[in-house]
């Protein structure tokens, strides 16, 4: 019963994907634009029955725009991690480290009360309350993440897959523990007073304030769309094809003249930068950061988003990030049962549909191949 349903889903999804891939641009473009406009309209969605997807309908519900914002933040992170896992085929279990770096960059340099800005202000005799403006924090965060990505990647990317997994995991933990134990990062209490993006004042409040969260959501959405576009271009460029070659067979790629190490490093650094942007937006909206927000579990969650959706496929990754962030918020009524349900769902999805809900075309083929091989091997024995 479940298999037939699953098969039906698989066939329908594949037909849709094929149609889409071969559809003419005059059909595709309006649909994409409509989808994007719909996403922008989502905070205001209150037409029943569609409004049932809102998270704030029940008595104990939470603010719909805030949830949407968090979903998009995690989508940005997932798109970044997808570059590392889905495109280059490197298993990174410490992705939360880059997310934390982004968050702490804007916190440490942008907040007037952070130990770092205070030290700089004292050193150069700057006025009280001096801090790096928000816009300047963005390149700082990206630079930090790129450097961290290269520092971590350069020595470790020569390691094979499983070793890379544990080393990256260790790296993620090291970042969190240093943030927690050090004076200059504010210790376990973290940093408060993180700057918000500038904007025209509205109704006597800043444009980006804590009550009109839909503006934050729109900002994150714009960032997500731009980054998706950039990653898509990258995927179809020489770099993307090199990643593909490395992922499928590193040795063969090397023989064909693809400098595997260089491109792996690129994937790592680009993924790190995207994670940092997500962390930066998150910290700016939150206004405070503390090291506890960047535990290892979040890394696992990011990996789960990529894999559940279908690694390598941008749409799949977005769906994975959406489901994993949204469902627990929508079903808050179940409170304590949520982690258990999440565990069961992870196992069920993986066992029933190991290629993910919306796999990458090429990946799906690879899966079918592997499955076929397994069957052949079984038949041989």
């Amino acid at each position: 019963m479940s298999t037939t349903l699953l098969d039906r889903y698989a066939t329908a999804r594949k037909a849709l994907a094929d149609n889409w891939a071969n559809g003419p641009i005059w059909v595709k473009l309006p649909i994409v634009l409509a989808l994007i406009s719909f996403c922008f309209y989502l905070p205001y969605l209150n037409i029943l029955p569609f409004a049932q997807i809102r998270t704030d309908l029940g008595a104990g519900g939470t603010d719909w725009s805030s949830v949407l914002f968090l979903i998009v933040i995690y989508m940005i992170a997932a798109v970044g991690l997808n570059v590392v896992i889905g495109l280059a085929g490197l298993l990174d279990l410490g992705y939360v480290g880059f997310y934390a770096l982004g968050a702490y960059s804007v916190a440490l340099f942008g907040s007037p009360s952070s130990p770092v800005t205070e030290a700089i202000a004292r050193k150069f005799d700057l006025s009280e309350g001096w801090a790096v403006p928000f816009a300047a924090c963005i390149p700082i965060a990206i630079a930090f993440a790129l450097v961290a990505g290269v520092i971590l990647g350069a020595p470790t990317l020569r390691l094979r897959g499983d070793y890379l997994a544990i080393v990256t995991m260790g790296f993620g933990e090291i970042i969190r523990i240093i943030l927690r134990n050090s004076e200059f990062t504010g210790g376990p209490s973290g940093v408060i007073g993180i700057p918000k993006p500038p904007g025209p004042e509205q109704d006597g409040r800043d444009y980006f304030n804590s009550l009109d969260v839909h503006r934050w959501y729109w900002l994150a959405l714009i960032v997500l769309i731009l980054l998706m576009f950039a990653v898509r271009r990258l995927e179809h460029s020489r770099v993307g094809r090199s990643w593909l070659a490395i992922r499928e067979d590193e040795d063969a790629a090397a023989i064909m003249g693809v400098p595997a190490f260089k491109f792996k490093l690129w994937a790592f650094a680009i993924g790190a930068a995207l994670g940092a942007i997500a962390g930066l937006l998150f910290a700016s909206k939150q206004g405070v950061v503390e090291p506890n927000g960047f535990r290892l579990n979040l890394s696992f969650l990011f990996v789960a988003m990529v894999v559940i959706g279908g690694s390598g496929n941008m749409v799949g990754v977005l769906i994975g990030a959406f489901l994993i962030t949204y469902l627990p918020e929508r079903f808050r009524g179940f409170e304590q049962w949520r982690p258990f349900a999440f565990g069961v769902a992870l196992v069920a999805v993986m066992v029933l549909r190991p290629q993910g809900l919306v796999p990458n075309r090429r990946r799906a083929k690879e899966f079918e191949d592997r499955r076929h091989e397994a069957k052949e091997a079984a038949a041989d024995v």
């Binding site: 005059w26 037409i47 029943l48 104990g60 805030s66 973290g190 506890n292």
Partner: protein, 393 residues
């Protein structure tokens, strides 16, 4: 290897159909727009209705420190509603799991929903730090039952924030006094757990004790092996050990300390208050001291402890009385005729009255006057915390 081209012909033909069906779907969606969520628009029906929010870790590993205060608040509401039957006041719970990232959507929800006239919380300092600004922007009054971080009021005050409990610095000073005056300790070993709660508390205690600190060390959450700390304590040979942290680590730490033959008095802060600590440390916890800025239920007078036990089947746990008091302050505002956020804020700012645990009057930063804060030492006796004495501040 993967040839897709056989299908392309069919696919091309199908794609136009696909386009039309998409348009049709869009039309169907807009046509079915029959109702909106605003139809049953809430708002005040009648004069006497409002909602008070309460947020904190209702699930997850820290829930046991928060749930008693929620129960206390519920009890206050039940008692009040019995006397004011025509009023409809609701207490709405929000689970944050103690995680600031999960607390902000809940806070925004309360801040943007005009039905909410007050918030009890946040229960922990981290989530309070993250949500204070949101409530401040919305002018929604907060009364925290258990967020004790000093910076919440002293370094970064928000006009809407109040708390019915003494902050860490007050407690730290009292703990230092207890170690110095009651235990007469001359050499004290201070350990903290590197959390946002433990580290600042240990720092205050260390500053207060000055030269009396023999040595100090840091542990971390989730740690179970304390061999290195225990040898440091042994080497320092102190008269007393102070631990700033939570029960899950204090339990095994104290056990290993006693196993190694260190029998000196063990003192912990309010992170150990509750039933978990004696359970976690087992027999080793006998005689350990836990300080808490909370009045023993039997001292609170009245029938609170008995009522609570009758209602929830267990003795009132950590901050139950504080939750009860916080709710009562909001209810008093309501009885006084406050019907909007501004009025509630004005009332709470000027509030003066006797609660279960102390006399309340908030200063301009939202703290209870220091002379009204009580700090008690509890001693573990037969596996339960028993009020021992009031600690000099």
């Amino acid at each position: 290897m993967y040839s897709l081209d056989q299908q392309e012909v069919i696919v091309l033909r199908r794609s136009t159909r696909f386009g039309f069906s998409a348009v049709a779907l869009a039309l169907a969606v807009s046509a079915s727009a029959c109702g909106t969520t605003d139809e049953n628009g809430g708002g005040d029906d009648g004069d006497c209705a409002a909602t008070i929010g309460i947020m904190g870790a209702l699930s997850g590993s820290n829930a046991s420190i928060v749930i008693p205060s929620v129960n206390g608040a519920k009890m206050a509401l039940t008692e009040w509603s019995a006397e004011n039957e025509d009023c409809d006041i609701k207490l709405q719970e929000f689970d944050t799991e103690g995680d600031p990232a999960k607390a902000t959507p809940a806070a925004t929800q309360m801040a943007t929903n005009e039905d909410f006239l007050g918030v009890i919380g946040g229960a922990f300092s981290g989530e309070t730090r993250a949500t204070k600004g949101i409530f401040d922007d919305a002018g929604l009054t907060m009364i925290s039952q258990s967020a004790t971080a000093t910076d919440l009021t002293l370094e970064d005050p928000a006009s809407v924030f109040h708390r019915v409990i003494g902050y860490d610095d007050v407690q730290g000073v009292a703990i230092a006094n207890y170690l110095r005056e009651v235990l007469q300790a001359k050499k004290i070993f201070v350990v903290d757990d590197s959390t946002a709660y433990g580290e600042p508390l240990a720092n205050t205690v260390k500053t207060e004790l000055g030269d009396l600190v023999a040595d100090s060390d840091k542990t971390q959450e989730g740690q179970t092996d304390f061999a290195a700390v225990v040898s440091k304590v042994e080497a320092a040979a102190p008269d007393a050990v102070f631990y700033a942290g939570y029960a899950a680590e204090a339990g095994p730490f104290l056990k290993q300390l006693r196993d190694a033959g260190v029998e000196e008095p063990f003192v912990g802060g309010d992170g150990l208050y509750g039933a978990d600590f004696p359970k976690a440390a087992g027999a080793a916890s006998e005689g350990a001291i836990v300080t808490c800025p909370c009045l023993p239920a039997e001292e609170a007078g009245g029938t609170f402890a008995a009522d609570y036990e009758a209602e929830y089947g267990e003795a009132p746990g950590a901050y139950a009385a504080e939750g009860y008091d916080a709710m009562n302050i909001f209810l008093a505002a309501f009885a006084d005729g406050a019907r909007d956020r501004e009025a509630v804020e004005k009332f709470v700012d000027a509030y003066e009255g006797q609660g279960l645990t102390k006399t309340y009057k908030f200063d301009e930063k939202g703290d209870v006057a220091e002379e009204n804060v009580v700090i008690w030492a509890y001693k573990v006796t037969d596996g339960a915390l028993v009020a021992d004495q009031e600690v000099p501040k």
